[in-house]
C-alpha cells in the first residue's frame, strides 16, 4: 500500500510542477508588453513606475531565473503584492477563499446527501416510465446552466417572496443564520448538477450491487430488504461516489465563478474576474495556481481514501 501511495505522491509532485510551469508561462505568452498592458488600467504612467513594475514582476531577468524566483516565493506562500490595492496577493486569495469554499462545500453536501435516496429510488423503479423520466430529469439537471438557474431563482423570488431574498455575503462567524440564508439559493443552483450526477452513480452502483452474489446471500439469510440495500449495496456505491466527488470539485469551482457573480458573493470567482478586467496578471497567475493546486490535492486525497476503502487496490 505504501508503494502505491508513494507512486501517487511522485505523480502529484510532477503534476504540480507542470502546473506551475504552465501558469508561469502564461504571463510570457501575452502578446505585447505585459507590463505596459498591466499599467493600462491606470491612467498615467511614468518610466519610473514602469521600471518598478518590471522589477516587481521580474520580467527583466533570464526566464529560468525568473521561474525559480517565482516558484520559490510561491512555495513560501509569497505571491507578491497586488498591483492596485497594494495588498499581498496571498491575503487577497485567502480573503476570497472562504466564501468559495463554503459555497462548494454546501453544494457538494446538499447534492451528495440528496443523491443517496434519489439514486436508490431510481434503482428501485428501474425499467419503468418513471425510470426514463428520472433519467431525463437527471440529464436535464446536469445540463441546466447554473447561472441561468440562479437568475431565474432571483426573478421568481422577487416576484413571489420579495422579503425573503437576502443577498450578498455575511461570514458564518458573524451571523450564522444570515450566512446560511444567503447561501441557500446559490448552493441550490450549484447543487442540482451534483445531485443529478451523483444520483445516477448511486443508481448504477445499486443495480450492480443488487445483482451480486453477496447480496443474494444476504437476502437469502433473511435480512430485511432495507438493510440489504443500505448496508451492503450502498457500501459498494461508495467507491465510484468518492472518485466522482473529486471530479465534481473541479466542476463546482467553475460553476462557483459564475454563480458568485450573480449572487454577489465575494469569492475566488469574483477575485479572478476582477483581476482579468484590470489585467492584474500576478493575481490571475496566483489564483489559478492556488486553486489548481488545491484541486489536485483534493483529487490526491480522494485517491488516498479510495486506496483505503478498496482492498483490491491495496494489494
Amino acid at each position: 500500500m505504501s508503494r502505491v501511495l508513494l507512486a501517487r505522491l511522485i505523480d502529484l509532485v510532477i503534476v504540480l510542477f507542470g502546473v506551475s510551469i504552465i501558469v508561469f508561462l502564461m504571463i510570457r505568452l501575452i502578446p505585447g508588453d505585459a507590463v505596459a498592458i498591466m499599467l493600462g488600467a491606470n491612467t498615467e504612467i511614468t518610466p519610473e513606475r514602469m521600471a518598478e513594475l518590471n522589477r516587481r514582476v521580474g520580467l527583466d531577468r533570464p526566464v529560468i531565473e525568473q521561474y525559480l524566483l517565482w516558484a520559490g516565493a510561491a512555495l513560501r506562500g509569497d505571491f507578491g503584492t497586488s498591483l492596485w490595492t497594494g495588498r499581498p496577493v496571498a491575503t487577497e486569495i485567502l480573503i476570497h477563499l472562504w466564501p468559495t469554499l463554503e459555497l462548494t462545500a454546501l453544494a457538494l453536501t446538499m447534492g451528495a446527501v440528496l443523491a443517496v435516496p434519489v439514486g436508490c429510488l431510481m434503482a428501485q423503479t428501474r425499467g419503468g416510465v418513471a425510470d426514463v423520466a428520472m433519467r431525463i430529469g437527471a440529464i436535464a439537471g446536469l445540463t441546466i446552466p447554473s447561472f441561468w438557474l440562479g437568475i431565474v431563482m432571483i426573478l421568481l423570488l422577487s416576484a413571489w417572496a420579495p422579503s425573503f431574498a437576502s443577498l450578498g455575503y455575511v461570514p458564518f462567524s458573524e451571523d450564522p443564520l444570515g450566512n446560511l440564508q444567503r447561501m441557500l439559493l446559490p448552493s441550490v443552483a450549484l447543487a442540482l448538477p451534483i445531485l443529478a450526477n451523483l444520483s445516477r452513480l448511486v443508481r448504477s452502483a445499486m443495480l450492480d450491487a443488487l445483482g451480486q452474489d453477496y447480496i443474494r446471500t444476504a437476502r437469502a439469510k433473511g435480512l430485511p430488504e432495507r438493510r440489504v440495500v443500505y448496508k451492503h449495496a450502498l457500501r459498494n456505491a461508495l467507491i465510484p461516489f468518492l472518485t466522482s466527488v473529486g471530479i465534481m470539485t473541479g466542476y463546482l469551482l467553475g460553476g462557483a465563478i459564475v454563480v458568485e457573480q450573480v449572487f454577489a458573493i465575494p469569492g475566488l470567482g469574483r477575485l479572478i474576474l476582477g483581476a482579468i478586467a484590470e489585467r492584474n496578471y500576478p493575481l490571475i497567475q496566483a489564483t489559478i495556481l492556488v486553486v489548481t493546486a488545491g484541486f489536485v490535492l483534493v483529487n490526491f486525497l480522494v485517491d488516498f481514501l479510495y486506496i483505503l476503502v478498496d482492498p483490491r487496490v491495496r494489494a
Binding site: 493600462g40 488600467a41 497594494g86 432571483i154 444570515g178 449572487f263 465575494p266 476582477g274
Partner: protein, 499 residues
C-alpha cells in the same frame, strides 16, 4: 425534513432582518463595482470616486447639485487683480480622521503630492496652471499660478486634502484613506463591501446624520434591484435609465433624477486615414441619429448633446446650432464621396466594456453601416481598452466620459494640441488659440463667446462625435431623506441624509 429546515431558516432570516433595520442606521448602498483603490490622488473611475469624494475626503471647494462652486475646507478666498494669485482662508477646527488638525501645511503638501512626478497622478493636469503653493500662516494658503485659470476653483473640488505626512507616501492611502470628510474609513472587504463610519469630530456640527455608509458591491443588476425592493439596500446611486425604469413604481422605492454631466461619445483617431479627413468626421456626425440612440440605449431618458452638457446651462449651446446634428445619411454618403475615400469605409470601433456602451456601439454601428461605413466592433477588457485609448491605438472608440463643471477642464486637455488626454492627436490652430485665450479670461461673456466658437467647430469636425447626455438616476428607499443625485456623480449629499 428539508421543508421544516427551510422554514426554520426563512423564519430566522426574517428575525435577523428585522433586528438589523431596527438597531443600525448604517446606510446600505448597492454599488455595481468595487473600487480598485482609494487614494484620492490616483483614482478617477466612478466606483472609487463615489466612495471617496465628499464622504471621506474634501477639497478646498465643492460643487453642489446645481454645479455651483461652494466653500468646503476653504471658508473663503480672494483672487488677485491679475488672476494669478489665489488666497484661501481655511476653515478652523477641522481635524483629519487620525485626529491631527487640518492646516495650511496639509493643503500645500496635498498640492505638492498631486503634482509630484513620482505620484504620476491623473489629476495633475487639473492643477497644471499652479506654479507654487505656500502656507502664509496655519489657516491661510496662497496658490500662485503661471497664468490665470478660470477653471481653478472648480478643479479644486476634486483635489482632496490629505495629511501632510502623506506627501512622500504613495502607497498607504490606497488601502486606508485618511481625510477630513463626514465619514471615515473603517473596513474594506474586497469584492464584498466598503464600510465607512460616522466621523464624530466632523467640522459641520450635527452632520452626518447617518451612523455610517456601507457600499455593498453587487455586480448583478437584477440582484441589486431585488435588494432595493426587499429593503436590504436603501440606495442604488447613479443608475442608468434601464434600471430606473425597472424600479419605477415599485413599493417603497422612489427615484431622483438629474441631467448627467457624463456623456457618451465616439472618438476618432485623426492621425491616420480615414478620420484624418474632416469631411469623414463630419459624415460620421450626419450618419448618426442621436435621437435614436437616446431611445435605444437610454430608454428615452436623455437628450442628444454637443460638446458640453446641457446641465452646464451657462455654457452649452443648443444642439440646433450644430448643422451636422440633423440625421442625414445621404449627406453623409455625399461627404464621403467628396472626401474621396473608398466606400464602404471599413473601420474598427473599440468598445468600453459596459452594457450601456455596448448597446450604444451596436446602434451606432448600424447607423454608420447604413451611411457608407463598414464598422467592426472590437470588445475588450477595461484594462486593454484604456491602454489602447492612451496609446491612440484605435480607429474609433465608443465610450462614456465624466463631464466637468467648467469647459476648460474638459476642452483644454482633450482638444488642445498636446493636451494630456488628446488621444485623438487632434491639432487645430484656431481651437488652440481659442482655448489658450479662454482659460485666461475673467469676463464670463467673453469666455462664453470663445467657447461658443469652440463648440461649433468641434461639434461637426472635431475628433469626437458627442452623442448623448443621459438622465442620471438614483433609486432609494422612500424612508431615505435629504439625499439627492448630483450631476457629477458625487455622493457628497449623503452627509445630510437621514434614514
Amino acid at each position: 425534513m428539508f421543508r421544516s429546515m427551510l422554514r426554520g431558516v426563512v423564519g430566522a432570516g426574517f428575525m435577523a432582518a428585522a433586528l438589523t433595520t431596527a438597531s443600525a442606521q448604517v446606510l446600505e448602498i448597492g454599488a455595481d463595482n468595487g473600487p480598485t483603490g482609494l487614494d484620492p490622488h490616483l483614482i478617477t473611475a466612478f466606483p472609487s470616486f463615489m466612495v471617496v469624494n465628499g464622504n471621506i475626503y474634501e477639497g478646498l471647494t465643492a460643487i453642489d447639485k446645481d454645479l455651483k462652486i461652494i466653500p468646503s475646507l476653504a471658508e473663503s478666498w480672494t483672487v488677485s487683480e491679475d488672476g494669478k494669485t489665489y488666497t484661501f482662508k481655511l476653515r478652523s477646527g477641522v481635524k483629519f480622521h487620525d485626529g491631527s488638525p487640518m492646516e495650511a501645511a496639509d493643503v500645500v503638501a496635498s498640492v505638492k503630492r498631486l503634482l509630484s512626478k513620482d505620484m504620476a497622478s491623473p489629476l495633475a493636469s487639473r492643477l497644471s496652471a499652479v506654479e507654487s503653493a505656500n502656507a502664509v500662516d496655519a489657516q491661510t494658503v496662497e496658490l500662485k499660478l503661471k497664468e490665470p485659470s478660470a477653471a481653478l476653483l472648480s478643479s479644486l473640488s476634486v483635489i482632496a486634502i490629505v495629511p501632510r505626512a502623506m506627501e512622500t507616501n504613495k502607497d498607504a492611502l490606497q488601502k486606508t484613506p485618511v481625510g477630513t470628510g463626514p465619514f471615515k474609513f473603517q473596513e474594506w472587504q474586497p469584492n464584498g463591501y466598503i464600510l465607512l463610519a460616522k466621523n464624530e469630530a466632523y467640522w459641520d456640527k450635527g452632520l452626518p446624520k447617518l451612523s455610517g455608509l456601507k457600499f455593498n458591491i453587487v455586480p448583478e443588476s437584477a440582484t441589486r434591484q431585488v435588494g432595493l425592493t426587499n429593503g436590504q439596500y436603501a440606495l442604488l446611486p447613479n443608475i442608468d435609465a434601464a434600471t430606473a425604469l425597472q424600479l419605477k413604481g415599485r413599493p417603497n422605492v422612489k427615484l431622483a433624477e438629474t441631467m448627467d454631466l457624463a456623456y457618451t461619445l465616439i472618438g476618432m483617431n485623426v492621425s491616420k486615414p480615414p478620420f484624418d479627413n474632416p469631411k469623414v468626421r463630419e459624415a460620421v456626425n450626419y450618419a448618426i441619429n442621436r435621437q435614436e440612440i437616446v431611445e435605444a440605449a437610454l430608454f428615452g431618458a436623455g437628450v442628444p448633446g454637443g460638446p458640453l452638457s446641457p446641465a452646464l446651462k451657462s455654457w452649452a449651446l443648443d444642439v440646433k446650432e450644430f448643422g451636422c446634428y440633423a440625421h442625414d445619411p445621404a449627406r453623409a454618403q455625399a461627404l464621403l464621396k467628396e472626401a474621396g475615400v473608398a466606400m464602404p469605409v471599413a473601420v474598427s470601433m473599440k468598445v468600453l466594456p459596459r452594457q450601456d456602451i455596448k448597446d450604444v456601439a451596436q446602434v451606432v454601428q448600424e447607423q454608420l453601416n447604413k451611411a457608407g461605413f463598414k464598422v467592426e466592433l472590437i470588445n475588450q477588457e477595461q484594462g486593454q481598452f484604456i491602454q489602447d485609448w492612451r496609446n491612440s491605438n484605435f480607429d474609433m472608440f465608443a465610450s462614456i466620459n465624466a463631464g466637468q463643471p467648467d469647459p476648460d477642464e474638459y476642452f483644454y486637455r482633450t482638444f488642445r494640441t498636446g493636451g494630456s488626454t488628446n488621444v485623438f492627436k487632434y491639432s487645430d490652430a484656431e481651437i488652440d488659440s481659442l482655448l489658450d485665450k479662454a482659460r485666461t479670461l475673467s469676463d464670463q461673456g467673453e469666455r462664453k463667446r470663445a467657447y461658443d466658437q469652440v463648440q461649433k467647430k468641434l461639434a461637426c469636425t472635431g475628433p469626437v462625435a458627442h452623442l448623448t447626455y443621459g438622465t442620471l438616476f438614483s433609486a432609494m428607499n422612500d424612508k431615505l431623506k435629504g439625499y439627492d443625485v448630483v450631476p457629477n456623480r458625487s455622493l457628497m449629499m449623503l452627509r445630510s441624509a437621514s434614514y
